[in-house]
Symmetry: C2
Subunit: 312 residues, 2 copies
């Protein structure tokens, strides 16, 4: 699975109900990663790991459910930057990752250690051990102050609450990055390559930007099955719909199909978009209609079955 | 005040009871500083700040009294390094410091910000904005494994619980370091220069190793008053007595006098060492006998008065 954050984590909880978790490789976007307070933070990896470990906070989509906020409260007291909320338990993950990276371990090694410590069977792999950073150039905002400013993904997503329009996106460092060990093999050998219902531009886009990934996917196009993150023209979570429109794409299952058709053989679209099936297929890929809104692990498991069947 | 950790913090609680805190500059040892989990940790600065803010844990001599350990417990759960215990509230200090340093602030600026946020009147200044790191070469240990190994101060002090002999000490980076802004002026202008009852080799030694400090002190020798950290041949806290002996110094008030006489005009020794007064003075400095064991802020205030009177 090419995995973003919440949508990927939910679909993975379904996938592990229908196939042996140890046969699953989650290739996770690290374009959202950042250094804050000196800590190396990998939000999408953490969302996937916490969710598969059953620790996730379903209310927020990020972080740990049974969390305390002592460090953040104290940081606020002394005037520190608290716009990116790090719970006390969550902090341990970042302390661990940062220390191991400082000791010379690669991100894929550290990620495997964390997944193992959390008792996860799925192989969780960063898209790259190298730093690739999603950067967004902002368009007009209400007072024009931010127009043309380039910000890191989390600044846009969390600090600005994705409430400002985006003009363009780039993946800093991608050209010099290599796929993490196992990434290309996983794509090449998999029975099915699943693209999670994540933002195609800022969650799946960074994975594609790592040299070698796009062509590896294109070579397996018939086995590549994506789930549309756009349902009835809107994103279930996050700014994917608005962002697509701002960047000149159509915010619909058809727009998603157009973005992915070059390397995706099948797009699973929601029942609400059944009337778009022909329009999706006219973009040159197969469309499969199924319930895609994962309100429970059971729905996620049904969706996983649909997706895996589509790849066969 | 040239300040180490606990002894300095206690004496400062006395000093601020007898003089206006805003007239006091604490020049704090940063040789014990380290990077752990990517965080910049300044143990002596934190001990001084927490103590002056009334937050200190008197049971341990480090950290915050009303502390929780959620992050450490979680870090232990996932197999991280937990030998250096960072409480949840304490973590906020390190997050703040690390983030501000990453933003380009100097350590003296960050330290001033933290002290201000904690409502402290004393000017708390690191000895240097540059990294100076106390390194210890270990001597024989029980199984001979560590002999000759060079370790960072906190590895010796906390991880090895200072239970292994030391062969030599050096201050990595000192030759290229500059005193932090205000350090030399404070020494030059002060009515009294107080040397806290801290380990003369590993707590005061790093401050002296910063180029310019020793000569600035020697020029004010008549106003420099030290409090012996050795009472009746033993350290009140920590391994100062053993360490002095291992490095070939005498573990007594006389040995301390010998180490400091070049730049210290007066040594305050404890009542228990009254019989050593002549021997101390034969090292070439004045000896003043007073109660030096700071069991309460009142005793600390009395000691502060003795020390300040001695400088006049």
């Amino acid at each position: 699975m090419l995995a973003g954050g919440v949508g990927a984590a939910r679909l993975l909880t379904g996938v592990v109900r229908v196939v042996d978790p140890s046969t699953v490789v989650a290739i996770v976007n690290t374009g959202d990663d950042m250094t804050l307070h000196g800590l190396q933070i990998s939000p999408d990896i953490d969302t996937v790991v916490y969710t598969l470990a059953g620790l996730q906070n379903p209310a927020t989509g990020w972080g740990i459910a049974t969390e305390s906020w002592t460090a953040m409260a104290e940081l606020e007291r002394i005037g520190g930057a608290t716009w990116f909320r790090l719970g006390d338990r969550d902090l341990a993950t970042h302390l661990y990752r940062t220390q191991r990276l400082a000791e010379g371990a690669a991100l894929h090694e550290v990620t495997a250690e964390i997944a193992r410590a959390r008792g996860i069977g799925v192989h969780v792999v960063p898209m790259s051990d190298d730093a690739v950073r999603t950067r967004l150039v902002l368009a007009e905002d209400a007072d024009g102050v931010l127009a043309g400013t380039e910000v890191a993904f989390q600044h846009y997503f969390v600090r600005l609450r994705h409430a400002v329009a985006v003009r363009s996106v780039r993946f800093d460092g991608a050209a010099a990055a290599s796929p993490a060990p196992g990434v290309l093999d996983a794509i090449g050998d998999a029975e099915a390559v699943v693209v999670s219902p994540s933002n195609p531009v800022v969650s799946i886009g960074p994975i594609l930007a790592v040299p070698g990934v796009r062509s590896a996917l294109a070579a397996r196009r018939e086995q590549v099955v994506a789930v549309s993150p756009i349902v009835a023209g809107a994103a279930l979570k996050g700014p994917a719909d608005r962002l697509l429109a701002e960047l000149g794409y159509e915010s619909s299952a058809v727009g998603v199909a157009r973005l992915l058709a070059e390397w995706v053989g099948t797009l699973v679209i929601d029942e609400q978009d059944a009337h778009l099936k022909d329009a999706v297929e006219s973009e040159g890929l197969r469309a499969v209609v199924a319930p895609t809104i994962m309100t429970s692990p059971e729905v996620a498991a049904s969706l996983a079955t649909v997706v895996l069947d589509a790849a066969r």
